[in-house]
């Protein structure tokens, strides 16, 4: 009877292998037909030197039906709240590009629509790897779009490197991922060095000397990004005339911040810098209010980036500032249309991560057009040479794959996220100092 079980197992295994083998099912664009893995790009590589305008129409290779692009996004699990902001950015951008006929690929002499396949990786790096391998082997994607959170990017960017597929990812500020020498990873998103520098420059520009919150408390999460970003803040502070009076570490998922808060209060700290997760950030601010310590200025990256921060904390969450990478109030071409589209579907202007996600697709489409082919290495080189206007503003890339992008400062005011820096983009004035919690 064990033999029968074994047979059953073999059958299950084979059947499932078969089923995965022919798994189409993208979330977007109905699966018309599985696009044949066109080996054409390579063939044309050889024929490329013929740049002369000959009767090209005759020699053009048959164009593929779609440009295949794939994304593995954490839609469930602990990064779910980030992933759900990223996804509509990708989807809307692809819709907009396809509405205009697609991306012009010179090699085929015509516009080809993008087909985007999105999978949910459950915020699990191992599952994300599976999804990227499926996108590579089944959809034969020309590029990957990333998910959210450094846990996920660390795994997926490495798979992109292994498969030699260009990878555009946002929603992580960790700089160390970029320092490993990966060639296929690009991120049009502000990184820790910018976040650690800009805050002091903005404070010094906005607030006259003597009124600045020169005594800083830093609450560092015990993670690599925490170490990196908070370390940079600590390093930069003296250069701009600031003093770090409290530097405390905590492990993620802490319920009790009272000890750190009391230390900051006792040291007379006037500003708070931190990058807590959402639950940690909410607990931190509730306890600050209860213990009666109000920093005049707080830069809290990550936790306040969701629209629910305002309704969760009410006035306690007011005046907090963030470096989220983008804001729907930016005055770049395409932002208004994106907001309108987002408003129609979700009833509010585009979320903070939606813009950068949208820009990823813009950058990719632009690069494919410049490359004039669907060859992955050519697209990679074209992305590296990007110099264009997107919904997040002008974008170019450094050699390490980090983008030169705007790093706007956002502030919670009257229950809304307002853009306060840079001035020419601002939707509201920077508010300082924050009034004590019990006087709001």
């Amino acid at each position: 009877m064990r033999a029968r079980l074994v047979t059953m197992m073999v059958v299950v295994f084979l059947v499932s292998a078969l089923v995965t083998n022919c798994a189409p099912t993208p979330t977007q664009a109905p699966p018309t037909e599985v696009v044949k893995p066109t080996e054409t790009p390579k063939a044309t590589e050889a024929a490329k030197p013929t740049e002369t305008p000959k009767p090209t129409e005759v020699s053009l290779p048959p164009a593929p039906e779609f440009i295949e692009v794939g994304a593995s996004i954490p839609l469930t699990g602990k990064f779910g709240s980030l992933g759900t902001q990223v996804k509509p950015g990708y989807v809307f951008a692809v819709q907009d590009i396809n509405a205009a006929g697609g991306v012009y690929v010179k090699e085929y002499g015509k516009k080809i629509p993008i087909r985007l396949t999105i999978y949910d990786d459950e915020s699990d790096p191992t599952k994300a790897v599976s999804k990227l391998e499926t996108l590579y082997a089944e959809q034969n994607v020309v590029a990957y779009l990333g998910g959210a959170g450094s846990d996920m990017h660390a795994a997926t960017a490495a798979i992109a490197e292994k498969n030699k597929v260009p990878y555009l990812g946002i929603a992580f500020a960790l700089y160390s991922i970029h320092q490993q020498g990966y060639k296929y990873l690009f991120s049009p998103f502000p990184k820790s060095p910018a976040q650690a520098r800009d805050v002091f420059e903005i404070l010094n520009a906005e607030i006259p000397e003597g009124e600045r919150p020169t005594k800083i408390a830093i609450f560092q999460e015990k993670t690599d990004w925490g170490k990196e970003l908070c370390g940079l803040w600590k390093e930069n502070a003296p250069k701009y005339g600031y003093e770090v009076v409290v530097y405390e570490q905590y492990a993620p998922k802490t319920e009790d911040f009272s000890d750190m808060i009391l230390k900051a209060k006792a040291a007379g700290a006037e500003a708070l810098f931190g990058m807590p997760t959402q639950p940690d950030g909410v607990a931190m601010f509730k306890q600050m209010a209860e213990l009666g310590w109000t920093p005049k200025f707080s830069l809290i990256i990550r936790a306040p980036e969701n629209v629910t921060w305002g309704e969760t904390l009410g006035t306690v969450g007011e005046y907090v500032t963030i470096f989220p990478g983008w804001h729907h109030g930016e005055k770049f071409p395409g932002v208004e249309e994106l907001n309108a589209k987002y408003q129609a579907e979700f009833g509010r202007p585009a979320d903070l991560l939606t813009g950068p996600a949208y820009a990823c697709v813009q950058i990719l489409a632009n690069a494919i057009e410049r490359a004039g082919t669907l060859d992955r290495d050519a697209i990679r080189d074209a992305i590296a040479a990007t110099d264009m206007m997107t919904v997040v503003g002008p974008v170019t890339f450094n050699a390490d794959g980090t983008g030169n992008v705007l790093n706007p400062l956002i502030q919670w005011q009257n229950g809304k996220l307002e853009l306060v820096w840079p001035k020419d983009q601002a939707t509201a004035d920077f508010f300082y100092p924050a009034p004590p919690f019990d006087q709001r």
Partner: protein, 293 residues
């Protein structure tokens, strides 16, 4: 010196009371039915959302909705029991644990992801108009919502204790914990006792969830960490004593907070767990548990 320590302990006390409340529910269910309901944390999450929506949409004070939240979870408990757990009553103890673990696992996947579809993955919580108020005693601040939460946790617990000690049904419940075979012989309707303990466990999870949404925050994925904490506290306090379980929760919460004060915040949970292990080394039946036969 005194003030910061005392302040830490005030916060630790509440954290501990919530651990205790979550664990008492688990312990009640496990003690009576030997069902290891690993979806307990998800029930807590549902309780949190029930209070949150009542507050956000209707403006009802979370402390007022607490009884309603408990009733809501009670109903959910009845449905889940009838639908899923009633099938497990006749199994052996070992098979019961195994099967309820599996069902609980599936259930937690469903509840988590249904919550995610309905209410998004964003973190939410309740901040009332009096949330930032506190009274000061000897220089130590006592935030009103936390004191109230602690009070409610204690009331819920004493009510439970009273019920278990004074009513016939409560006594039947306790008898089942001690020895279910003898209880059956005494003419106790096991099915009814099982159902009752299960729904009471769910209601306690609901109460805990409500208080969590006031004191901390809620999100669809929060369940697992509360289930794990609940299991640890259940064993720390020891099976068979619900008051003991609650005290176990307080001990753990205060230890964690004191660690933050004396050592470092990065290892507060680790020190709590080490304490737990030490307790088990010296008292394998938990702090207040009855020794195994």
């Amino acid at each position: 010196m005194f003030v910061p320590l005392a302040q830490s302990l005030v916060f630790g006390l509440l954290v501990g009371a919530l651990y205790g409340l979550a664990a008492v529910g688990l312990s009640l269910v496990f003690g009576v039915t030997k069902f290891l309901n690993v979806a307990h944390g998800e029930l807590l999450m549902l309780g949190g959302y029930a209070s949150f929506w009542a507050f956000t949409l209707r403006g009802v004070d979370p402390f007022l909705t607490l009884p309603l939240t408990m009733v809501f979870l009670l109903v959910i408990g009845v449905v889940l029991y009838k639908l899923l757990f009633a099938h497990m009553v006749k199994l052996t103890e070992e098979a019961k644990i195994q099967n309820t673990l599996l069902v609980g696992f599936g259930l937690s996947l469903i509840l988590q992801n249904v919550a995610l579809r309905l209410w998004t993955a964003d973190t939410r919580g309740i901040t009332t108009s009096y949330s930032r108020m506190a009274f000061t005693f000897l220089g130590v601040r006592f935030p009103i919502v936390r004191v109230a939460s602690l009070g409610i946790a204690l009331i819920a617990l004493f009510a439970l204790d009273l019920f278990l000690r004074r009513t016939y049904t409560g006594k039947a419940l306790r008898a089942t914990v001690e020895n279910w075979e003898a209880a059956t012989l005494m003419g106790i309707d096991i099915q009814r006792v099982y159902l009752l303990s299960f729904v009471m466990g769910a209601a306690l999870a609901g109460a805990a969830g409500c208080l969590v949404s006031v004191g901390y925050s809620i999100d669809p994925g929060m369940g697992m960490s509360w289930t794990l904490k609940g299991l640890i506290v259940m064993v720390l306090g020891g099976l068979g004593s619900f008051m003991g379980t609650f005290v176990g929760g307080i001990v753990l919460g205060v230890t964690e907070s004191a660690t933050g004060y004396f050592l470092t915040l990065t290892y507060r949970e680790v020190v709590g767990l080490v304490l737990f292990i030490l307790v088990l080394v010296f008292r394998p039946q938990g702090l207040f548990g009855t020794k195994e036969r």
